[in-house]
Structure formats: C-alpha cells, structure tokens
Point group: C2
C-alpha cells in the first residue's frame, strides 16, 4: 500500500510500504477513507521534534474495517469507524477511568512502531478498546463524516481544554490560540454554555471562524499588551482559560489572564522552553493548571452523538482537501499558514 | 502595648508600640490570648523574604473582642474569636466564592501596614468578614482552644492541600513535607477518607506525629530515591499528592510521584527557584497542579465544628509554649528545628 513517511525537516513522502496485516487477535485492519494533517505534525515537519527518517505519519483518521482478529468483539468487517489519536486496550485501570492516553498497553499512531493514518490503511491494535463505530444511519453522509473527522483529535482536544479549565454555563472564557484546536476550544466552550468567549489570535480568517463558532470578543495583540486588554475587558481576568498552543509565550499569556480561583486548561503540546510557570502568581491567586494530552476516546461518544444530532459541527476547520499524493503539499500549506487544517481523502 | 517587630535576619524583638484603635466602623480590637509562630515566618527570619525592619509579625491568633466599630454586626465585645491568616471583607465576589484570600479589600496580618498577632492586641479590619466566634460552650476549655488554634493557618492549609489534590475516600495520598502543614495535611487526608497515606520526611519525632495523625507509610529518602520508592510502593504513583514545603525540590518530588490523572495540591509558599515544573511530564500524564494560599476563612467553620465535636485535633503540632517575651526564642527553636511549632500565650 501507499503511506506517508517522514524523511527529514520539511520532507514527507508518499511511498510504497508493506500492507498491514493482523498481528494480534485484538487487531483490526482499517482501510482509510478520511485523515487529517495536524498542527502538532508541524513540530516534526519543522525539525523541532526528535523524529527519525522512515517513521510513519498521521494520527487522525477514519475508515472501513477490512479485517478483525479472532478476539475482536465490538467492531466487524464493513463497519465505518473512527479512531482517537491514541490507541488503548480499553480494560486497564486508566482506560476504566477515562484516561485512555495513559493506557498501560497504549500508544500513538505513526512514529517508529505503528502505522500512521496518512495512508491507505492501518493496523489498529486493541480494536475493541480503540475504535468507535459510526452509526449506520450516517455512515455514507459525507457532510456528517467530515464533521465527525475532527473528533479524532482537535475537537476532542479543544473539549479537553474546556473541561480542564472548568468551563460552565454563564462563565467567561478566554482561548489562547486560533489554530484548529483553539477554534475547537471556542466551539467546546460554547457547547458547555460559556456566556462570553474571548479568543486571542492574529489571523483574520481564523477569527472569522471563531466568531462563527461562538467567540464574542477578539484580542489580536500579543504578550503583555494582550494580557492588559483581557484584564481590562474582564475586569480582572477570565474564569477559565484554554491554552491551545504549547509555546512558552502562550502559557505566560494564559496564566496572566486567569481570574483568581480560575483554571488554565492546557492542551498545547509543551515545546522548547515551555517549562517555566509563574508559580508565585498561581499560588497567590489559587490558579489551577489542568490538562494534558486529551483522552479523546473518552470524549468521542458524547461528541459523536452531538454531531450526528446536528448540534455540533467542527468541520469548518478543515479548509483544504487533498488526496494521498497531495499530503506533502498539505504539510507545506499548513506550515505556511495558507491552510488551517488539511483533510486527506485517500 | 507590646508587640513583636522584625529588625533583620535572625532578629525579632518584643517592643512597646502604640495601642491599636478602631479606625474604621468595620474594625474590631482583639486582645490576643493565643498566637503561633508559623513555618512561613522563618522565610523572613532567615532573610529570604524582602522584609523591612519595623514590620510587625504573626498571622495566627485568637483572642477576646475588646471593642467593635459601629458597623460590626456578627461579633461583639467579650466574644472569643479566631482569625484566619488573611482578613477579608466578606462581601466581594471572591469572598462570596469562598476565596477570601483574593478579597478585593483583603490583606494579611503583620508586615508594613497591619498589626501582627504575636502581640498583646490587634486591630482587625472587616471584623464581620474575618473573625469567627468560638462557641461559648468551649470558650474557656483550654484543651479545645489549643486544638482550635491551628485552624488559623496550618490546619486550614493542610486541608486546602488535601482538597486541592482531590483526596477522596479510599484514595492513596502522598504528603511531601513533615512540617506543621504537612502533618496537618496527613490529618486532613485521613479526615477526608484516604485509605493509604504516605509521608515523605526525615525527622523521627515528626514522623511519629504523622503516624498518630494517620500516616500509614513512611519515606525518609530524598529526591530521585524518594520518587523511586513511592513509585514502587504505589505501583505507579499516588492519586493525590500534597506539596507542603514550597521548595523546588519538594515540587519536583511531588510531580514525580503522582499517578496519571492525579493532582498535586500545593500549599508551600513558592520560594527561590521554585518556578520550574516538568510540564511535559504533567502533559503526558494529565497531572493537575492546584492550590495556593489557603482560603482558611472558608474552611474554618467546618473544621471548627469537628474540633468542637472532638473529631479533629491538630494541637500536637504545637510542641512548644512560650509567653510574649519568649517569642524570639521561639523563632530560634523553630529555625533550629528544635520545635515543630511554637504557641504564644501573651
């Protein structure tokens, strides 16, 4: 089959690789129908992660089950399924708690050891614990399928930021970052009943999308100026802040605009120097820092129900569609900020 | 009257100062009957805080109301009262939320502007919002009064650590630090139903007290060795960790021994280089960092009820009793770790 392979900074290629095969009785083989390129893929694409040539790419995907191992019970050949960006056994202590990203047998798609979703097919370990079957009533509705696709990562991650920040009906929320996760964070905050949603970002097109998703206030400055503006407009800070970038500057801003007693829900993958937090400020104002890698598998059922019911639609973040051969150009478009997020239809 | 005044590193003196007077209609004047020296007082005593000569000391105290301003409604002359370590107006947004330490008109005892409790008397601003009346049934029972005294700070702070760490019945809890706050954290964790309570500390006498308070496991090593031991004995970390020191090493240890999905409740005042946290580790394992300066005023009513009912007794942390003239020797004893915590009876 053909799959996307990392070769070095700025260099991903679609190549012939061995077809995936059932290796464990808990595996499934899934033919990919939809995948995405993620903002977090840009970290290795830009040479900022320790990636090695030959590693597979793509952790956001859905498709049709082609084969299952002898112990798989909840999915069968022909089912249309989506996968969270991490696989998980579904049975361990952490899976039982809804923290499947800490599964003792789990892992992430792509990289050295596992198949990636920017490909024709994948071997999916722990099919029962990992895959979610899309209701047959919508399995051929491409509009709804496109709205479901972001649940594999960015919509679940934005939701995790909102849940971690303690968003509740009537609250004032600030979202740091206007990438796909930040935009989904806006959507999640609105879904959870936030009254006022301030987005901090600099790109007109993305801010327009934020408005469509429910943002009520817009701050396009950065750093101390952005903090000052949010503190002024909220008279002392937002009760919940979603940090959706992962850079030191974004964390500094997020901690600077939380109201005393509030929380920062952080889901941006920490990179580089993002290990310093203003702990004295957090201490004085009882600010909570909560979040991390989103347990998408735990959130997908409730978000999927809302998408199927027509109450949730994150698909506008997918503003570029490519085929498998177009994956390298999709990375380039996102790297150059010409696209928010590329959808791959092999 | 006589009051304790800071003069420089290692130098506190009991001196004659002007008698406190009602300045605002919301003030009360309280004659101190019991006070404490706090472990956090040792920061300025050791020259590690930016304190100036002439500042008053002492933020843990109780006493008898001597006079009240014209607008005071809930306390009256003759009442025996205790104060949390911060005063608060009782009416602002944050007081209404139970976060009195962020009161928009609030402040802390002692320092440049306010009276301190290591003295014969204090002017208490916002008496209604700050002071809690001790039930008359126990107001002359010195055993119970001594058990109530730690609610002014260390018991409420240990409770805040436990609440912030999400301690619940049946959970495994680790407490970093065997000072008065750490010991009260053990007591708080037991009170909230923790099944297993691991304390990390090095002082035999304090660990004996921890055992009395409910600790079930003891780790006397430090740093990476302590982390390895706790990870081994818990098979992957404690669900709730109480950071009760405020030093970088304590925060590193606390973050190193939390189970994925768990929380560090931190109440040690951050000092020095304690601004770095292993955010990548927190991110990967969805570890929450929650806490800060304890809103003791919010916790005192429920803790006081338990003390009066004989269900809670943190008084063993008070292992040295001195009179007002003895305050300088009390600082020295705590600085040299000859005493856990000194009680002052002017």
């Amino acid at each position: 089959m053909r799959a996307t392979v990392y070769h070095g900074k700025g260099d991903v290629r679609v190549e012939n690789v061995p077809d995936p095969k059932i290796q464990q009785p808990t595996d499934a083989i899934v033919r990919i129908t939809h995948a995405c390129i993620c903002g977090s893929d840009l970290w290795f694409y830009r040479g900022l992660d320790d990636w090695q040539p030959g590693w597979r790419t793509g952790h956001e995907w859905m498709g049709i089950v082609e084969a299952v191992g002898s112990e798989v019970r909840t999915v069968k050949k022909g089912d249309r399924v989506l996968a969270p960006f991490a696989f998980s056994d579904g049975t361990c202590e952490f899976c039982a708690k809804g923290l499947q990203t800490s599964c003792v047998h789990g892992g992430f798609w792509g990289g050295k050891a596992n198949d990636g979703g920017q490909a024709e097919a994948v071997r999916a370990p722990f099919a029962d614990g990992t895959l979610v079957v899309i209701p047959p009533s919508v399995e051929n509705d491409d509009t709804i399928l496109t709205a479901i696709l972001p649940l594999t990562d960015v919509m679940s991650t934005g939701h995790h930021a909102a849940v971690s920040a303690g968003v509740q009906p009537g609250k004032t929320v600030a979202v740091v970052g206007d990438g796909a996760v930040g935009l989904c964070g806006v959507l999640a905050a609105r879904r959870l009943g936030a009254e006022r949603i301030i987005i901090l970002g600099r790109h007109d097109k993305r801010l327009e999308l934020a408005r469509l998703f429910g943002a009520t206030d817009f701050v396009s400055s950065r750093g101390e100026q952005a903090v000052a503006e949010v503190m002024e407009m909220t008279k002392g800070g937002a009760e919940a802040v979603l940090e959706c970038v992962g850079a030191q500057s974004a964390m500094d801003t997020a901690l600077g605009i939380v109201r005393p007693g509030g929380a920062v829900g952080y889901v941006g993958v920490p990179h580089g120097s993002s290990e310093a937090v203003d702990l004295s400020h957090m201490f004085t104002s009882n600010i909570t820092l909560r979040g991390g890698v989103a347990p998408a598998r735990a959130y997908i059922p409730e978000l999927l129900a809302d998408v199927v019911a027509g109450k949730l639609d994150p698909s506008p973040v997918l503003d570029l569609t490519i085929d498998l051969n177009g994956v390298p150009s999709g990375y380039a478009a996102m790297d150059e900020r010409k696209a928010i997020k590329a959808m791959v239809k092999p």
